[in-house]
């Protein structure tokens, strides 16, 4: 029993004062940025202790974002698998169509508190860029979004949305011109504009305190889900499921349940063309090893010399060679289990959900959907599963059409 209490306290307290989740996390940044991230941590602690900050956030959640998002019983999908009851946490119904805005709202409100006058962000698929541009428009702040030139070509509708929202979208041509290069470029901008600029990171990764801060802002998902399932079913769920790119939607759902050891946690990584195909998947935990990138130690796709691999996923939002450091820790200690799903499996799940539930899921949560049947069987007939439907699929219709060989 004593061991349990001890381990519980550990989960609750992480990260430690150095920003570590076990060996993961930390502050691996250039010296120029160290004073900035230390300052950010102080400002975040002050905001956490200020009821007014929480009240402002709550007000935006209720009236602007549209929270709480519903907890929906996916009855036909449940019947289809004939096992555990499947609930969707419907964060795709948020303003801008994904969970990303939960975090952007928190970070940009913090930036305003800190007196910062310029917001920068990186984006891959464009969802985090759109969410950041949205909040910046609402709060009247200039917003610069770094986006790989390759991604700009692939995600034209989101690029136009960001521009409509007043953001300055900067194409990044360095490296392979995708998400990790956009993040490199955002860090270069931040190191150059240290006095007025706030870097709004899109996932629960980066140097401390970002993984903790993004997790806290996203934990509204798990807190709501917990209340909702208790109300609907009178008990906690048996399992939680979410897709994993950087893993912010997953850690947001998981975190309020970490101490409930009977609740199983399943993350689903993007296996692209398959885990056994070199550099053609984006499963950092299942197919990578620990290393240091973008300010934190975590599982990474890399070669033997420590050069970072690009990876691949049909879902631009999961196409990142790393993962948030808390997931690396949860994987190592066995608190969460990380599965994977190929491009083809995600497409099948996308189609199934559209037909059975009348919901077009984004390709990201389609990865979690693809494994939900197996987990439902494992949990059994009387079980309860909550899956985070963290984004809607409207943005993906062109990609899906293309993959299915349909010309629009």
């Amino acid at each position: 029993m004593a061991t349990n209490v001890e381990s519980r306290r550990n989960w609750q307290d992480l990260p430690d004062a150095d920003g570590r989740f076990g060996q993961y996390g930390g502050r691996f940044v250039a010296e120029t940025l160290m004073p900035l991230i230390l300052d950010l941590e102080r400002a975040y602690r002050a905001a956490q202790a200020d009821p007014e900050f929480a009240a402002t956030m709550q007000d935006f959640w209720t009236h602007y974002v549209g929270r709480p998002s519903p907890l929906y019983f996916a009855e036909r999908l449940t019947d289809h698998y004939g096992a555990a009851k499947i609930y969707f946490k419907r964060d795709e119904l948020n303003h801008t169509g994904a969970h990303k805005i939960n975090n952007c709202l928190g970070q940009v409100l913090l930036a305003v508190r800190m007196g910062k006058t310029r917001i920068i962000a990186e984006t891959g698929a464009g969802q985090h860029g759109v969410a950041t541009a949205t909040i910046c428009a609402r709060l009247g702040l200039p917003c610069v979004v770094f986006m790989g030139a390759t991604d700009i070509e692939r995600q034209k509708p989101n690029v136009f949305r960001m521009k409509l929202l007043g953001a300055d979208v900067r194409p990044v041509t360095s490296g392979n011109a995708t998400l990790k290069d956009a993040m490199n470029e955002a860090l270069r901008d931040w190191v150059t504009n240290v006095h007025d600029t706030f870097y709004c990171i899109g996932t629960a990764a980066g140097p401390h305190p970002y993984p903790e801060m993004v997790r806290d802002f996203q934990s509204v998902i798990g807190r709501e889900a917990r209340e909702q399932i208790l109300e609907r079913e009178g008990r906690l769920p048996d399992a939680l499921m979410a897709c994993i790119g950087g893993g912010s939607n997953a850690i947001g759902l998981f975190h309020p349940f970490l101490n409930d050891e009977d609740v199983k946690l399943y993350g689903v990584e993007a296996a692209g063309f398959g885990l056994d195909v070199y550099n053609k998947h984006a499963a950092a935990i299942n197919g990578g090893k620990p290393g240091v990138l973008h300010g934190n130690r975590t599982y990474l796709l890399q070669d033997d010399d420590g050069q970072i691999l690009e990876g691949h996923s049909i879902s631009a939002g999961l196409d990142y060679p790393g993962v948030g450091p808390e997931h690396s820790y949860l994987a190592d200690i066995g608190r969460a289990k990380y599965l994977s799903c190929t491009d083809d499996e995600a497409l099948e799940a996308f189609k199934l959900c559209a037909r059975l539930e009348g919901i077009l899921p984004a390709l990201e949560p389609s990865h979690a959907l693809a494994r939900v049947g197996e987990v439902a069987q494992e949990i059994g007939k009387d079980g309860l599963i909550i899956m985070n439907l963290c984004g809607r699929g409207d943005k993906d219709v062109f990609t899906v059409a293309d993959a299915l060989g349909v010309t629009l």
Binding site: D18, G26, R27, F28, V29, A30, E31, T32, L33, M34, P35, L36, S174, G175, K180, D181, M183, N184, L187, R188, V191, T192, N193, V194, P290, G291, V292, L293, H294, G295, R297, L300, Q302, D304, D305, G306, Q307, I308
Partner: protein, 269 residues
């Protein structure tokens, strides 16, 4: 005495600043890089900084990003970098050579292995850009038995409290990053650099080298007035990028001569 302290003591006796020349290992290819490397001391480099390539150099400007891409394309790696250092040391036993790069290749090699292989290759120290004092204790522990220097960075955002932390455990020299920004970008004003160097000198006995954005003889001359050394990188790397690899050696070394001349004669003017 280490090679670094011997060299800085000699510069002090001569009453001049030194030139620290940066090039990227295996850029544009392994053998051309070696020819440049072995020519650097003769062209006037007092200390050599040999970069090891990384796929995601987030503190570097375009020049060094492209250099890293060329190096990786040519098969460059941390091991190949150590191989270049070993071959250089076989010919030159006095010019200090330090490695510069990012932490992930070192993490993959292992800190102890990195230290041992550096010592065997005859390298003298390292600057790991994304390893601030909060994160470099494994490297310090690994370097100590081999007497390798861990070169720390101070920047325009480093206040007095932070400077104390940066200087604890620093060795070799202190690298002052003269502008908030990436390598090779805008130059700092000479008054700001002069004031910063004076402030740091009050806090440490370590030699102070100033770099980032130093591209011209004029800029180098201004910094060499009160800094102990001037670091130039992007300007040399650009010479490699400027054309065919046959003349790359000559172009880089000519540029080194120019900058060295400016640094050597700065205080006499």
């Amino acid at each position: 005495m280490t090679r670094l302290s011997t060299r800085f003591a000699a510069l002090k006796r001569e009453g001049r600043a030194g030139l620290i020349a940066y090039i990227m290992a295996s850029d544009p290819d392994h053998e051309t890089c070696f020819e440049i490397l072995r020519g650097l001391p003769g062209a006037g480099a007092d200390v050599i900084e040999l970069g090891f390539p990384f796929s995601d150099p987030m503190a570097d400007g375009v020049s060094i990003q492209l250099a890293a891409q060329r190096a990786l394309k040519a098969g460059g790696s941390l091991r190949k970098t150590l191989d270049l250092a070993r071959r250089f040391r076989a010919e030159d036993q006095t010019t200090p050579l330090i490695l510069m790069g990012y932490s992930n290749p070192v993490e993959q090699m292992g800190y102890d292995g990195f230290s041992r292989d550096m010592a065997n290759a005859g390298a003298d120290g390292a600057i790991i850009v994304d390893l601030p004092p909060e994160e470099d204790s494994p490297l310090r522990a690994a370097f100590a038995p081999n007497d390798l220097s861990i070169i720390r960075l101070a920047t325009p955002t480093t206040d007095d409290n932070r400077l104390t932390k940066v200087l604890e455990g620093a060795s070799g020299f202190l690298y002052y990053v003269s502008v908030a920004g990436v390598t090779g970008a805008n130059a700092a004003t000479s008054e700001n650099v002069r004031a910063a160097v004076e402030r740091i000198k009050r806090a440490t006995q370590l030699p102070i080298a100033v770099g980032f954005g130093v591209r011209t003889p004029e800029a180098a001359r201004a910094i060499a007035q009160n800094a102990d050394a001037v670091v130039v990188g992007s300007a040399f790397v650009d010479e490699i990028a400027a054309g065919g690899s046959e003349q790359a050696v000559e172009r880089v070394l000519r540029k080194v001569e120019q900058l060295s001349e400016a640094v050597r004669t700065a205080r006499g003017q």
